[in-house]
């Protein structure tokens, strides 16, 4: 923050502390008598009145102690604008320390499994319990607690893989992330509406669900021009590119005519974020094994 605000805050904070102190001392000699009296302070609430009697001395000292405590606190901890405090404490620093401690504590647990091959790790109950927890904390937001994905987020429990389901592919996906990109109209940007409908019908015919057999036939030509480069002549997709298989019943963006048409017309952009800089290698090894175990 700028110097002005820093000073502004410091003045208000210190002013409050010293103001309390001053108030305490200023009212210290306000008593007219130091013995018990029947005199009241003169106000009455619901017939309840207050005697004008002295307060306990230790109270006064307690007030002073709180003022001294606040000054001590402000000297040690951040509280006065830009002044960082003598201890150098910060919430970020505390978080980093705690993360470091956690890494030291749990790192050993993860390290036990870091060198185990994925398929072997998938058999290990302890590792899988850990994997489940890691998955719940880091992956479940998109892929769901059970890893079954949802619209736009791949299902990890079936045998259909965009980029391959072998241990190495899973590890690569986790470490480096993936960028999925289906261009609008594929490689045929001048596709007409009629051609879109034809190609959608053709794609649906892979799974025997075409609406219009005529259109589907015509769609084959459009497909050969616009889609075949990535999805292949038989529509089986291409894991090197992350192009989905169009012949099965697993659909990342919905399986209905309208959904597929939407995909063809507008294309799809998607990203699996890289986890390599967020999680340790050992953690990723365990996660890969857990994901592997979901479908094996």
């Amino acid at each position: 923050m700028s110097t002005f605000w820093s000073i502004w805050i410091s003045v208000i904070v210190l002013g409050t502390v010293f103001g309390c102190w001053w108030l305490l001392l200023a009212t210290r000699k306000s008593q007219t008598t130091d013995t018990e009296t029947d005199k009241t302070v003169g106000h009455s609430f619901d017939g309840i009145e207050e005697y004008d009697n002295p307060l306990p001395k230790w109270w006064f000292y307690l007030f002073i102690a709180t003022c001294i405590f606040s000054l001590g606190y402000l000297a040690l901890y951040p509280g006065l604008g830009n002044f960082q405090g003598l201890l150098g404490w910060s919430s970020t620093g505390q978080w980093e320390t705690e993360m470091q401690e956690a890494d030291e504590r749990y790192g050993e647990l993860y390290a036990k499994f870091g060198d185990t091959p994925v398929p072997e790790l998938a058999e290990n109950d302890d590792a899988m319990k850990m994997g489940q927890r890691l998955f719940a904390n880091n992956c479940a937001t998109c892929h769901g607690s059970a890893g079954r994905g949802s619209l736009g987020f791949p299902n990890l429990t079936d045998d259909d893989w965009l980029y391959g389901g072998d241990p190495d592919s899973i590890l690569t996906t986790l470490h480096e992330g993936r960028n999925g990109n289906m261009p609008a109209m594929g490689t045929m940007p001048n596709m007409t509406n009629a051609q879109v409908d034809q190609v959608v019908n053709y794609v649906l015919s892979f799974s025997g669900r075409e609406k219009d057999a005529e259109a589907a036939k015509k769609g084959e030509e459009v497909y050969a021009q616009a889609c075949v480069a990535c999805h292949g002549p038989d529509g089986k997709g291409n894991q090197a590119l992350g192009a989905p298989n169009l012949t099965d019943n697993s659909w990342l963006y919905g399986s209905t005519y309208d959904w597929i048409r939407e995909t063809v017309v507008n294309g799809r952009q998607n990203q699996m974020p890289a986890q390599g800089d967020r999680l340790s290698d050992d953690q990723i090894q365990i996660l890969a094994a857990y994901v592997y175990s979901l479908s094996n």
């Binding site: 009212t27 210290r28 000699k29 306000s30 008593q31 007219t32 008598t33 130091d34 013995t35 018990e36 009296t37 029947d38 005697y51 009697n53 002295p54 307060l55 306990p56 001395k57 230790w58 109270w59 006064f60 489940q132 927890r133 719940a136 479940a140 937001t141 998109c142 769901g144 607690s145 059970a146 890893g147 079954r148 994905g149 949802s150 619209l151 987020f153 079936d158 099965d248 019943n249 697993s250 919905g254 399986s255």
Partner: protein, 477 residues
């Protein structure tokens, strides 16, 4: 209800001479505590207190050492979040029981207060109990009331320093034992003591032992009645529960007044005096330093020491006992007082109801718990079969002493199925999260929100059945 109870102001006043401000007519707003020298007294009520004090202290200091099968009888294991009480294990999920227990304690206090005034304060409150222990120690080391007053006035001498340091060391020792015991309920005491003295314990253990030691020493040694007068909230609101039928420690002015000294064996009626001989014993024994003869005051903790002291004097004078006694405002005015009145019934009823509720809860407590969390990320999915699926996380806590294998089922919609594992094994005191996928044929779904029920049945213990409701979300038709 009642006529107003006359209240007189009898704060321990401060000494005027030390508090004068020479410049103006005003004085300090803050008065120093005037030390109260409590005279020791023996008698019926003091004996009752000794019994309650011994019982409570005995429980406090002994229970921490009792172990059953190597498990402490009482152990509040905060790091593991397990609370072991008399062989049962409670978890944070059972906190409702703690609330119930606290409600019972509160209504127990209300109930007893409306009947007998501040007997909690006088006989069982830790502040009173430790203060009395400390006063007992003080009496043994420094001598009786007059000796203590003299000792405090005396100039510094070897004897005074010796006595004072002996007293404070004894106090600190008792306080340390108290602190150690307290922390011992959270950290098994045998390990605690060895760890503390071999400097192996966690810094917090030292901190809390130190904290409770210092707090005990200050409260029971230095603060004493100040806690009851200025700090304790219960002291304030217990007075509100008094009515003319409440039994409180009272001086009987009809019998005692006019007070005055007389020779033994003289008939007071001839001198025109009441039974009070104005000996001041009742004031000297009062731990809060009040004169009970001024009537009921908020400082009075109902400890009945003045009753014991006065009865002793009455016996010596051959007068009947009970010039100061537990009595009600009504009885002092010559009316009868009722024990059973709306307040008694009200508090008593709530007390019984809460006790019954807690007893029922504990008796029917199933040593396991199931929570169902619907996934927040997605409403629903179409799966490969074209059916609609929802994902849940089942949180299964096994609070029994043995591992449990549960069979999972779900009901509430036609043809509803579980696609993931339908059995799960949960270790003892484990809290297991199990992702579970449920699906339904789309034609069954008419509402976007459907109530379903997850049921877990233990395979080894048929009585252990957990049911939890959740929602199944589908497309809105």
């Amino acid at each position: 209800m009642s006529s107003e109870i006359p209240v007189k102001q009898v704060d321990p006043s401060s000494d005027a001479s030390e508090n004068k401000n020479k410049n103006s007519g005003t004085v300090e707003l803050y008065a120093s505590r005037k030390k109260i020298y409590v005279k020791e007294v023996k008698g019926f009520f003091q004996r009752i207190r000794n019994v309650s004090l011994t019982a409570l202290m005995g429980m406090y200091f002994l229970f921490v050492w009792i172990t059953v099968d190597g498990q402490p009888l009482i152990h509040f294991d905060l790091p593991a979040r397990e609370f072991h009480l008399y062989g049962a294990t409670f978890y944070p999920q059972d906190f409702i029981l703690l609330s119930g227990m606290l409600i019972i304690c509160a209504f127990g206090l209300f109930f007893i207060t409306t009947l007998f005034g501040r007997v909690w304060c006088g006989y069982t409150c830790p502040q009173t109990v430790w203060t009395f222990i400390f006063m007992w120690v003080e009496e043994r080391i420094e001598g009786g009331r007059n000796k203590r007053i003299k000792l405090d006035k005396a100039p510094r001498s070897a004897e005074k320093i010796a006595k004072k340091s002996a007293k404070h060391s004894a106090w600190l020792l008792i306080a340390l034992a108290t602190g150690l015991t307290f922390v011992g309920y959270f950290y098994p005491i045998r390990e605690l003591i060895t760890d503390l003295f071999t400097l192996q314990a966690n810094g917090w253990a030292y901190f809390w032992v130190g904290f409770f030691t210092v707090a005990t020493y200050l409260n029971a040694g230095w603060m004493r009645e100040q806690v009851c007068l200025y700090m304790c909230p219960y002291a304030r609101f217990q007075s509100v529960m008094f009515d003319p039928n409440t039994r409180v420690v009272s001086y009987d002015p009809n019998r005692g007044e006019p007070r005055g000294s007389r020779k033994k064996g003289v008939d007071p009626a001839e001198l025109g005096l009441g039974d009070c001989i104005d000996c001041g014993q009742c004031v000297q024994v009062c731990p809060t330093g009040i004169d009970i003869r001024d009537g009921l005051q908020y400082e009075c903790i109902g400890c009945a020491l003045c009753i014991d002291a006065c009865d002793e004097v009455m016996d010596k004078m051959n007068y009947p006992r009970g010039l100061i006694r537990y009595t009600t405002e009504n009885e002092l005015e010559g009316k009868t007082s009722k024990l059973l009145r709306p307040r008694t019934f009200g508090y008593g009823l709530v007390l019984l109801a809460m006790m019954a509720a807690i007893a029922f809860t504990i008796a029917t407590r199933v040593p396991a718990q199931l929570d169902v969390l619907r996934d927040r990320g997605a409403l629903f999915n179409y799966n490969g079969e074209g059916r609609i699926e929802n994902t849940y996380t089942l949180k299964i806590a096994n609070m029994s002493e043995v591992p449990q294998t549960f069979t999972i089922s779900v009901s509430g919609m036609e043809g509803i199925r579980i696609l993931t594992e339908d059995t799960v094994t949960v270790e003892s005191s484990e809290n297991r999260s199990l992702p579970t996928v449920v699906d339904v044929a789309p034609e069954v779904i008419t509402e976007s929100n459907n109530d379903i029920v997850f049921t877990l049945e233990s395979q080894s213990d048929k009585s252990l059945v957990l049911e939890t409701e959740s929602r199944f979300v589908g497309p809105n038709r």
